[in-house]
Subunit: 416 residues, 2 copies
Amino acid sequence: MSGGRARILAVGDELLSGSQVDTNTGWLAGELQRHGILTAGGEVVRDDEPAIAAAVRRALAEVELLCVTGGLGPTLDDVTRHGVAAAFGRELALDEAALTDVRAWFARRNVTMSDTNRRQALFPRGAIVIPNRHGTAPGFRLELDGRAVVVLPGPPRELQGMWADEVLPWLVASGRVRAPLPVRAFYLFGLSESLFAERAGAWMERSAEPLIGVTAREGVLSVTLRASSAEPGPRAALEARAAEVRARFAAELYSEHDWELERVLCAALRARGATLTLAESCTGGLVQALLTGVPGASAVFRQGYVTYSDEAKEASLGVPRATLVEHGAVSRETAEAMARGAVRASGAALAVAVTGLAGPDGGTPEKPIGLVWFATAFGGEVQSTQRLFPGFGREAIRRWAARTALWLAWRRLVGG
Amino acid sequence: MSGGRARILAVGDELLSGSQVDTNTGWLAGELQRHGILTAGGEVVRDDEPAIAAAVRRALAEVELLCVTGGLGPTLDDVTRHGVAAAFGRELALDEAALTDVRAWFARRNVTMSDTNRRQALFPRGAIVIPNRHGTAPGFRLELDGRAVVVLPGPPRELQGMWADEVLPWLVASGRVRAPLPVRAFYLFGLSESLFAERAGAWMERSAEPLIGVTAREGVLSVTLRASSAEPGPRAALEARAAEVRARFAAELYSEHDWELERVLCAALRARGATLTLAESCTGGLVQALLTGVPGASAVFRQGYVTYSDEAKEASLGVPRATLVEHGAVSRETAEAMARGAVRASGAALAVAVTGLAGPDGGTPEKPIGLVWFATAFGGEVQSTQRLFPGFGREAIRRWAARTALWLAWRRLVGG
């Protein structure tokens, strides 16, 4: 395979029925990679004991570390503990200490523990219990001939907490974690993959040192350069290529650390002691929701406006009725008036306004669905621009428009 | 394995490095299930030709239909077409018609096509090209001895469009799709899995007809009952059990169709000709972003308020300074004043206010991080309640609080 040392196994009918997306594989792979362990691959199986057992055996034949997630709940459809026990040919036994922990978790919350929760203290013989301070289901690990299986519950909050509390310290202590491979990441806005390849030119060749990976998502292009080892040669090649990316894509590059534009924008606002406000129509609060997701956002964001109707644009932001009547809600004039009004009403240094047609209804030949107008007001001056997201669908138009708003705010702030 | 007829293979380094989560597997599995095809399992592999080829061979040894996603981009790191060709022992050949389509896509957008995009017209010999009206990368399918591989690009928007345009019609025409198995879904709010199991009692037993699946996410419990066949016996057992769920969990059940509370709430508002407004503090626009994600939300939502600072709560919602000083921003009194003020300012029939401590800083012993106050104003009367989300982390507190706000709005609207 591709030389990875770990595999991930996600368990759950809900992951294979459309009712839930498995986010744990991506998260765990990221954590492993950050600590120098490449993930060779992942698998998703149903809540089915033989399927789980077969997947565990298959993974351990290939790699030295398998992370299993999900199927540790109290209900009878959860059989991950049974499947892992079967793969190792072990029986399940009740762990009294774990049962005490599960009881204590309920007691701390003044909730009566139900009998079904006793299942959560069953483990394959020989397993080391992994305590769970974030929920009721303890995990466990099993080692055999230098290979290890780590089993964690499915809820991301519990899994991530247990990873930090217990699993990572054990990986370090047992010498499984080695120095991360040298990596450089670049986050660019507004370039397609093709255009990037075109402008990057010959060094996109596949066998080159460093390896290059390019991914597009919501207007952001993530470019990752990865050295094949930590030796001086590959390191120097990596740094030379990184300098080239910085020079060629200076206009599009917004970070070498954060994919999240909202984090980059918040940091830039903090550095300048500036505040931001939002006047959102078609994005309906999405930009503000992204922004306030950043810890400490309250230092740069005090209030914002979701003005979905024409009346709200008039009442909250003072957009003149004449502007709305003459040019419509989706127009340069309305976007600019919204940005001006938001600065006036909030006293923020920078305002971004977004107004567009997210569909599914309301498009015309002149103003098709996917048309979005943006305006920024900063230092007494208003700038505006439009984007067209054709054929994207409502949710994608909203998400791309939200990212574009963050990008325009950041450009305006750092570029003047 | 578990009797599934399909498998899903997601390709991409980015899915195994933490930079992106694979949402395609869950989406495709849901589509397949809706059309009567159970997915036995999924796999995630890196952008690595031998790994892709091995996974394709393994899947086709087990099931009759394999859906592959990702790795069809124009850059040289994308090798899915090579891997699938290798699994079938075929060569890649340029498809002139597909090349014309790729060229036309660029021409329609007035963008110059780069040479790298020629790769996107390469297909294994014998493959049927699947046109892509939503992006540049066409997909393809290959059949051999009654088994089929369908290969689609990774961007969800393109994949989902091509699925509807091309793949589903072909599945129907080729007789692969059969009648869906009878299923009933129930969405309950505010119950833990354990409490559900406790109250459900003996019929949670594993071998029972129908099969039962329970999943918890952001305060919502999804309960799925699935008949083992479409015969009268299993159907009757399914309906009997469904009636029992409705009776036992009447207070928690909000939908048998939509997980998304925001859809259920929008529909309830529309049915009553009522409008809603939001006054958000700790959720920072998240509730409004969820709400306006629903097509047609503009019929029930005109405007909302993101009042992050005390000053904003005073200025936009008229929360008395004395209330903020005496009781603090996170209190019953402030939440109630926010809800009252939002009704007054917007003229909406129903207002929901959310104010809490999402962290990471700002908690005290009396008001710990995770404490959130909610208020609803409706028909001249204000009600309020608090929730504690202890140890959840900032993002989870915000998401749970947003769902709780939607739930409280819905309860208030339908329950009086």
